[in-house]
């Protein structure tokens, strides 16, 4: 029983990490109708930036603040001007491929220009072990889980409760109509990417202690985040959290109770079942077609 609880708790902590990465996907999907295949690198880059500030002697949270500012400029504004503005109107394919190219460039740029090594990263919540009734969790695990919850709910609320959030969604659904209504389309698109950049920084701050700062950390992160986002529901930010936790927990349970070699397959099976029978995801809303 304690074993099960241990696995569940551990899985939830890992799941929270996946959820943080998945959150960016769901945001971009809802608010710009795109998928950013460089999202993993959008987490990796701030991780290195923070590390750099941190090694320069700045406290972690100050490093985080600086990094956010730079990320909003580079990953937010730069991405909007450089990729979203020119390509969004051509549909999904060019954006997908441009972000694929971008991920190759960022990943290998960091590798060639900085380091191919993994670097340890300080944890915001420390690494204190907490033992309760035979089950051990770390303060980092709990902190990550709570932070993920907070960010997910915040993003969700922003999108669905505020008019700006809705305007962002409107732009994604029908840019021309949004223009006609006087919605400042470029600004909404910028908000979307700026928020995404900040989310990526937050994710970097929280996941890197576990993931370690490494040029290819984004690759694995992105794959898990895709799974999480699909399972939870791509058009729903809360889905990211649920999906992440399902992936994290099911991996652990599968590794323990099924064959370890096929442990990935369990998350995969859930993923496939969800896609086929509830493509909108567990929490997503169904999109009906109208003819």
């Amino acid at each position: 029983m304690t074993d099960l609880v241990q696995l569940l708790l551990s899985g939830m902590a890992t799941g929270a990490i996946y959820a943080l990465a998945a959150l960016g996907f769901t945001l971009l999907w809802q608010a710009s109708g795109t998928i950013n295949f460089a999202q993993g690198e959008f987490v990796m880059l701030p991780a290195f930036m923070m590390l750099a500030f941190n090694t320069m002697g700045l406290p972690l949270l100050v490093s985080f603040a600086f990094t956010c500012a730079i990320a909003v400029l580079v990953l937010g504004w730069g991405f909007k001007r450089g990729i979203a503005d020119p390509l969004l109107r051509f549909g999904m394919m060019p954006v997908v491929v441009a972000t694929l190219g971008l991920s190759i460039a960022i990943r290998n740029g960091v590798r060639a220009g900085y380091s191919a090594e993994a670097h340890p990263f300080p944890s915001l919540f420390g690494d204190t072990l907490i033992r309760v009734a035979g089950v051990t969790v770390t303060s980092g695990d709990i902190g990550t889980l709570l932070a993920a919850l907070l960010l997910v709910l915040g993003t969700q609320a922003w999108l669905s409760r505020t008019v700006t959030g809705r305007a962002m969604q409107a732009v994604a659904q029908n840019t021309e109509s949004a223009t006609v209504l006087g919605i400042n389309v470029p600004r909404m698109v910028f908000y979307t990417f700026a928020i995404n950049a900040v989310l990526a920084c937050a994710a970097a701050l929280l996941v890197t202690p576990t993931y370690l700062a490494k040029f290819d950390m984004g690759e694995g992160l992105a794959t898990k985040a895709f799974f999480a986002a699909i399972i939870g529901g791509f058009n729903n930010s809360r889905g990211a959290l649920l999906g992440g936790i399902i992936v994290g927990v099911s991996e652990n349970l599968a590794a323990h109770y099924v064959s370890a070699a096929y442990k990935d397959a369990v998350a995969l099976v859930i993923f496939m079942l969800v896609i086929l029978f509830k493509p909108q995801g567990l929490l997503g809303q169904k999109i009906e077609r109208k003819v």
């Binding site: 074993d3 241990q6 696995l7 551990s10 899985g11 902590a13 890992t14 990490i17 290998n108 590798r111 380091s115 191919a116 090594e117 993994a118 340890p120 690494d127 072990l129 051990t136 770390t138 576990t210 993931y211 370690l212 490494k214 040029f215 290819d216 690759e219 694995g220 994290g248 991996e251 652990n252 349970l253 590794a255 323990h256 370890a260 070699a261 442990k263 990935d264």
Partner: protein, 361 residues
């Protein structure tokens, strides 16, 4: 020819990037030194590094390119899969091929042109097994390994070596490359109640495994091979690394002055502490130098011939860092170390003599 042209095929991107980059940097350091000191037999070394992208298909093409370029020798690749493909090309062209790849099958094919610059698993695992069986007096072992050719090969080999010594592997736990959460593998190892836990993964995963082992309060001996106690893992795992023991073929923390000096030079040039792959690359070039000097001419056939049964003493050629010798298959032999992590530092518990010099250890 005015220079000695060599090609280096390394995993510079993709999953093997850390390995390949270390090897490359090690090579570059050695070449810089050698060239500064006048080269080999008066000729400078000219190296071209190629990125295999950790992909055997690319490695094969690059090996052909090296052959097309008529190089004297090829270094790498370090991934066993890539090496198995590319060594066919170098063999056909009779080009000596130095590699850091560890898979046993590389030197069992009777290819006279391959030479390892470090132990293969066939050499190292028996040493680890002997330590587990004889020093730790363990009866059962749980193996946590990474599910790629490196990890799977090692796990197979250690299982066999342990069985030879009457030790049983009671849990064989595979983990994926890049795995984050070691809760399940560690729990499984714990539940197997094995006397020893043997961890055989890449650096980052090793660090995570150590952390999780500490988190779940495992107090069984934790043993590894090379990676587990490497500088990187200690850096990444922090306190959790304390107490881990590993057999290390090459270590920058070996109690050998030449090794310390190498570490200092490497750190000066590249601003980080090399792992064993850095040493493999560095010594590999010096091994070639020694062999060429023994042959007395810059010639592929002569190099290959000189490599047969070559023994190099560190006193004569300090660049090899430690005395090494090669057998006819291309496998290397030299002293190795048993290392334990104490207070975040590697401490050598024992120096294991080269296989060739004396049995046992």
């Amino acid at each position: 020819q005015a220079t000695i042209k060599i090609a280096s095929l390394q995993e510079l991107s993709g999953t093997g990037a850390t390995v390949g980059t270390n090897f490359k940097n090690g090579m570059d350091l050695a070449i810089k030194e050698i060239n500064a000191a006048g080269g080999i037999l008066g000729k400078k070394i000219e190296v071209t590094h190629y990125d295999t992208q950790s992909n055997p298909g690319v490695a094969k093409g690059l090996a052909q390119k090296a052959v097309d370029d008529d190089v004297l020798a090829v270094f790498g690749p370090g991934f066993s899969g890539s090496m198995i493909v590319s060594m066919n090309e170098t063999r056909r062209a009779k080009i000596p091929n130095f590699t850091g790849a560890e898979a046993a099958s590389i030197t069992t094919q009777g290819n006279p042109y391959v030479y390892r610059t470090s132990f293969g698993q066939a050499t190292s695992m028996p040493k680890v097994a002997r330590y587990i069986a004889q020093n730790l007096k363990a009866k059962t072992v749980a193996v946590i390994y990474v599910n790629n050719d490196f990890g799977k090969g090692g796990s197979d080999m250690v299982t066999k070596s342990l069985a030879d010594l009457g030790v049983k592997v009671v849990a064989n736990i595979s983990t994926d490359p890049g795995k984050l959460d070691f809760a399940a593998p560690v729990l499984q190892a714990k539940q197997s109640n094995a006397d020893v836990i043997f961890v055989y993964t890449n650096e980052e995963e090793a660090a995570r495994a150590l952390r999780e082992l500490r988190k779940q309060g495992v107090n069984k001996p934790i043993v590894g091979e090379t990676v587990l106690t490497s500088q990187k893992v200690i850096e990444l795992a922090g306190d959790a690394a304390n107490g881990a023991v590993a057999h290390i073929g090459l270590s920058v923390d070996a109690p050998v002055p030449s090794m310390r000096a190498f570490r200092a030079k490497f750190e000066r040039d590249y601003h980080y502490i090399p792992d064993h792959n850095g040493i493999k690359g560095y010594t590999g070039v010096y091994i070639m130098k020694a062999a060429l000097e023994k042959a007395g001419k810059i010639d592929r056939a002569a190099l290959a011939k000189a490599m047969k049964g070559l023994t190099i003493s560190a006193a004569k050629e300090p660049g090899v860092l430690m005395d090494v010798s090669f057998d006819d298959k291309g496998d290397i032999d030299r002293e190795s170390f048993l290392v334990e992590v104490k207070n975040g530092k590697q401490e050598v518990k024992a120096v294991l003599p080269a296989l060739g010099s004396k049995k046992g250890g």
